[in-house]
């Protein structure tokens, strides 16, 4: 039974993840008929690559620090204070996390780029500095910190701090002695997550990064599509693979530590109205930072997309005269939706089976190892997946190059970790005694699943599907390698439009981004309505 459950996802990962990764290894290190590990050092020793590595690392560190600085007060406010409109605002700050990277890149271009809002108002341009990248990364990862840290913070029993205060600790000392140690593993986990996302940042850097601002991901893409040096690209992928593996291992370790016995209570009872001038000021500060950092860029994006008479940019999308594509850009919407539906089905089936196998109490070491393996595509970055598909699946025995299924497969691979992470906590939370009770009342194993498990996970299943849908809709890093020119997806179309000069192309990119943003935001807000507090980490 368990073998049956796990065979499908294992096969899927073997063919579409392990095999491409092996192909990358071979392409990078198997030179002239022999394995040459020294190739890694040769590539790292190049000054341009060293510069890329250095930039990738320090911008990720800076982004992480900046995100924590901005988002930790937000985590506190969302966890502990009660104010009107809190539910709506909580949903809104989550939107950026599922927004496609190209949308975020475009939005910040509209805000701080050439001819952007700041440029018009004060002549300030940030798109030639690293600040545009850092701010976009904060925009993206704000929700990660608020969800991971704030989620735990809201569940910490406030009476722990009160107990410390009764023993003579001041407000601050009580926080430092009791809350901070309880929170530290969650902060560390969130910081590692943010570091991982920004270390492997592709779309944002591709769009906002000026000359000299190139991350590993962007460099891999450049080596592949501009310089056609597949062997160097493969080595870079291997370097990234190792770095990501190290960060993921660290993350798994902090998550395990986070699970140590803390006193958790229902989050809804710990929040209260702000008291005193300090708390009101903090609330105002957080609301202001959300408005400026999260809402303003999106508002400017929408405004720019309408910045032509008679919805000119939107109407231009209907025609294929622009010459950027073989088809009218508007057709990218249909492509994206089709791909996303197929990718969602694949991701839910594979992820659902994997989660079900992982839930079983008798899951052994092998199965738990598989859990970590499932997370790899999330961290290993989309570009690796796309590049792997490009070099592995274009020749026998598996020649899918001409097949449309290639794109949904890559997107599903990126979506599966989200599905597993969403389903696992819910499946694990189903009390085993409920199943036993059903069995004692005469239900067969299948009936038990149908009557006990399914009603409890139905909601999580919908949420997982929604996440997979939003992820594949916005997927850029993998798709850009393998989407065919006559069948671009929305993000690919946006990036290509931005790559061309001219007012009309720029405006069309804004318009397409706006459409993409609306689709993603709507699907996320629908999910927020479905969400219960236990459904996963994202």
């Amino acid at each position: 039974m368990r073998l049956g459950l796990i065979a499908v996802p294992v096969t899927f990962f073997a063919v579409f993840f392990a095999y491409p990764v092996a192909a990358i290894l071979a392409r990078g290190l198997h030179v002239d008929g022999a394995w040459q590990l020294a190739r890694i050092w040769d590539v790292v020793a190049r000054s341009d690559i060293r510069h890329v590595l250095w930039f990738t690392t320090w911008q990720a560190l800076a982004s992480t620090a900046l995100t924590l600085l901005v988002a930790l007060p937000g985590a506190y406010v969302f966890a502990r204070l009660d104010f009107p409109g809190k539910q709506v605002l909580r949903a809104i700050v989550t939107v950026p996390f599922v927004l496609p990277t190209v949308v975020v890149g475009t939005a910040f271009l509209a805000l701080v780029g050439r001819g952007g809002l700041l440029d018009e108002l004060w002549g300030v341009r940030l798109d030639t500095t690293v600040w545009a990248i850092l701010l976009a990364h904060v925009f993206f990862n704000y929700a990660v910190v608020v969800r991971t840290v704030g989620g735990l913070w809201g569940q910490l029993d406030p009476r722990q701090e009160e107990a410390a205060r009764m023993l003579g600790a001041s407000r601050f000392t009580a926080w430092r002695a009791v809350t901070l140690p309880a929170l530290a593993p969650a902060v560390a986990a969130a910081a590692l997550m943010v570091f991982l996302f920004t270390f492997t940042s592709f779309g944002v850097v591709q769009i906002l990064g000026g000359p000299g601002f190139s991350t590993l991901e962007v460099e891999i893409y450049r080596q592949t599509s501009e310089i056609f040096d597949l062997s160097t690209a493969a080595v870079l992928t291997i370097i990234q693979f190792m770095a990501v593996g190290a960060v993921l291992a660290l993350h798994a370790w902090t998550v395990r530590r986070r699970e140590t016995a803390l006193r958790l209570v229902d989050a809804s009872v710990t929040a209260r109205r702000p008291r005193g001038r300090g708390e009101w000021a903090l609330l105002a500060g957080v609301l202001a930072s959300v408005a400026v950092l999260l809402l303003l860029p999106l508002a400017v994006l929408v405004q720019r997309s309408f910045d032509a008479p008679d919805f000119g940019y939107y109407r231009a999308l209907m025609s294929s005269d622009g010459g950027v594509f073989l088809v009218a850009p508007i057709e990218a919407i249909g492509n994206s939706l089709r791909y996303a539906v197929v990718a969602t089905v694949i991701a839910v089936v594979i992820g659902g089976l994997a989660a079900a196998a992982l839930t079983r109490r008798d899951a052994g070491r092998f199965v738990r190892g598989f859990d970590a393996l499932l997370m790899l595509p999330l961290g290993v970055s989309a570009v690796t997946v796309g590049f792997g598909f490009l070099i592995a699946l274009d020749e026998p025995p598996l020649d899918l190059r001409a097949s449309w299924i290639l794109v949904p497969l890559a997107q599903a691979l990126v979506g599966v970790p989200f599905v597993v992470r969403t389903m696992l906590p819910v499946l694990r939370a189903v009390d085993g005694r409920l199943r036993e009770a059903a069995a004692v009342l005469g239900a067969s194993p299948w009936r038990v699943w149908r009557e006990v498990d399914l009603p409890m996970v139905r909601r999580a299943l919908l949420i997982a599907a929604g996440f997979a849908f939003a992820v594949s809709l916005g997927e850029f890093g993998a798709t850009v390698f393998i989407a065919r020119p006559d069948n671009p997806t929305l993000p690919v179309a946006v990036a290509r439009l931005l790559g061309r000069a001219g007012e009309l192309n720029y405006g069309q990119a804004m318009a397409l981004s706006t459409i993409l943003m609306v689709v993603c935001a709507v699907s996320l807000l629908v999910l927020e309505r479905l969400r219960t507090d236990r459904t996963g980490e994202f």
């Binding site: 009160e162 107990a163 009764m166 003579g168 001041s170 140690p181």
Partner: protein, 339 residues
């Protein structure tokens, strides 16, 4: 008075959780606040602790108004209902926490931790993790932690609430003995009357945010002021009656009420011990509906023909069987005119 509470009022939304409560606790006294859940007793403790601001009224410690004094400067201890031990620290770290906050040296801390763990009956437990403690052990550690900084007033919120019955009965005796020995001033809240009566010098019964009755355990037990207090103490033989002279006219017939009883329509309480069973052809005729074994006696539930049920306390060997028909007579000494 070490602790004075004057007209303390706390509102949540529009509802008064504490409604003009007045209460005093003298030095070395143990006062127990008794009430059903939702009666405002925990809020009372939080207000004294400084964790819950008052909407009006005052809290005085040693005669000094505490408004504006933050919780950590009040010098009172609070033992939380579910202990709130810090899970990241071991037993010793928990007990030493308050000492550390008050700037005690390492040596002093270690010395006092050892002393307190001996006191609560957990010698040598300083290195143990709190997650591995049983309920009773957690209870003892929480007590040691609260006592460590020598608070001038120790407050206990449902101190034995989560423990099983036999452990509770043993611990309550231990606690009373310990507080007596140390001379600790204690304000405790509980919903369990047995616990309150066993622990307290003085009992305060709360209802809907106000004080319903205050007095020694004996006073409260013998003369509940009203039907609410009587029923809360577990008395169910409460009935309306019209008193004229030395008898009250009730659905259970004429009840004797002593000479000095107030006249007119009153609520009366008949303690089960005052319900005497006689043969079926005398007194009020009842059918035995149920019996419950209580260890020292049997509680017999009696159903008269057209009147509310009655509970009688019977000696073990004399209790009638279910379905028997018995007569009931009443003992004036066990009848209380309420209010």
């Amino acid at each position: 008075m070490l602790l004075g509470i004057e007209d303390a009022t706390v509102r949540f939304g529009g509802r008064a959780v504490l409604d003009a409560v007045g209460l005093g606790v003298a030095e070395h006294e143990i006062v127990c606040v008794l009430g059903p859940s939702g009666s405002g007793k925990s809020t009372l403790l939080r207000a004294v602790a400084g964790l819950q601001p008052l909407d009006s009224g005052r809290v005085l410690l040693d005669g000094r108004d505490q408004s504006g004094v933050p919780a950590h400067k009040r010098g009172v201890g609070l033992m939380f209902q579910d202990h709130q031990l810090f899970p990241q620290r071991d037993v010793g770290g928990n007990v030493a926490f308050g000492l550390r906050m008050h700037g005690a040296s390492k040596g002093q801390q270690a010395e006092r931790v050892r002393e307190l763990l001996d006191l609560v009956g957990l010698p040598g437990a300083a290195g143990r993790a709190v997650a591995g403690l049983s309920g009773g052990e957690q209870q003892r550690v929480a007590l040691a932690r609260a006592l460590a900084p020598r608070p001038r007033l120790l407050m206990l919120d449902e101190p034995l609430g989560q423990l099983d019955r036999s452990l509770r009965e043993r611990l309550v005796v231990e606690l009373r003995e310990l507080f007596g020995r140390l001379g600790t001033t204690v304000l405790a809240v509980t919903h369990d009357q047995g616990e309150a009566f066993a622990l307290a010098d003085r009992v305060v019964v709360m209802r809907d945010g106000g004080v319903a009755q205050a007095g020694t355990p004996l006073e409260v037990w013998q003369r509940p002021v009203d039907e609410f207090v009587a029923r809360f103490l577990g008395f169910d033989n409460v009935v309306e009656g019209t008193i004229a002279g030395e008898a009250a006219d009730t659905p259970w017939g004429k009840l004797p009420v002593g000479e000095s009883a107030a006249q007119g329509t009153r609520t009366l309480l008949v303690r089960p011990a005052g319900v005497r069973l006689v043969s079926g052809d005398a007194g009020l005729r009842c059918t035995v509906a149920a019996r419950a074994f209580k260890g020292t006696h049997v509680a017999v539930h009696l159903q008269p023909a057209d009147a509310p049920r009655l509970e009688a306390a019977c000696a073990l060997r004399e209790a009638p069987e279910v379905g028997d028909v018995v007569g009931v007579e009443f003992d004036a000494a066990e009848i209380v005119v309420l209010g």
